[in-house]
Amino acid sequence: MLPVVVVHGGAGQIPNERAEASCAGVREAARKGYEILMSGGSAMDAVVEAVAMMENNPLYNAGRGSVLNWKGEVEMDALVMDGCTLACGAVSAVRRVANPIYLARLVMDKTSHVCLTGEGAFKFARAMGIPEVPEESLITEYARKRWKDNLNPEADHVQNQMGKMG
């Protein structure tokens, strides 16, 4: 058995000007996860920290940099699963949280449930001491541009095609 971390940054089409940075981001995340494994950390710690690193990277559609819904708001989903026990935790349609993956892990570790959604997930985050962040801090100029462009039915360029991948 050989320890390993494998990460992805999404299957949407990446404009040329963002390609190198997107590749660099997944390399950094994989290295981070692997460092955790090599220092004796668990596979769960490795995947959660690797994903959190990509959530904090505005290049990816997760956490800061998430795409916007039709109202121009951020609603995020996340899931973790432990293959040893089949324990899992998830959040859906969660807002104003910087790292939904941490919240999903808390659902797994601290509740008897599998998934919390919307306002309930947000209240759980608050109860767990996860700070509320302004929605604006999760929205990038790039995400706002794609949202505006997509409101225009005439627009049909690469950035809009990317958005069809969740």
Partner: protein, 133 residues
């Protein structure tokens, strides 16, 4: 969408996936990501999967669990991923990609979309890619 799978020194496998969803989605729309067996799955007996792509298509074929089902039947992570992605494309016209590991540390990063940024580290060696082939 971003995601990760890992195997640690104890042979435990895990999966994690996080997403902002689909551009200009309806308020309240939830895709595959938080759904167990769709947006991720992990079982020490077979392996772990984190997907990305058309969320509704991934949900219709329960992509992550389907890949592990193929691995349970003896397929490698790469073969199982390709079979499941082909099934998703043929049955529901879905595009996407996956990262997969089995408990021995054999891994795969496969996709039928044009691009998927991915990276893997094993035995101190970094692997990465963006385009098909």
């Amino acid at each position: 969408t971003v995601g990760a799978v890992a195997v640690d020194m104890q042979g435990n496998v895990t999966a994690a996936t996080s997403t902002g969803g689909m551009l200009n989605k309806m308020e309240g729309r939830v895709g595959d990501t938080p759904c167990v067996g769709c947006g991720g799955y992990a079982d020490n007996q077979f392996g772990a999967v984190s997907p990305t792509g058309h969320g509704e298509a991934i949900m219709k074929v329960t992509l992550s669990r389907l890949i592990l089902f193929y691995m349970e039947q003896g397929k490698s992570p790469e073969e199982a991923s390709d079979m499941a992605l082909t099934f998703m494309l043929e049955r529901v016209s879905g595009l996407g990609g996956v990262v997969v590991v089995n408990p021995k540390g054999t891994w795969a990063a496969r996709f039928n979309s044009k691009q998927m940024a991915w990276a893997a580290v094993q035995q101190e060696k970094l692997h990465h890619g963006l385009y098909q082939e």
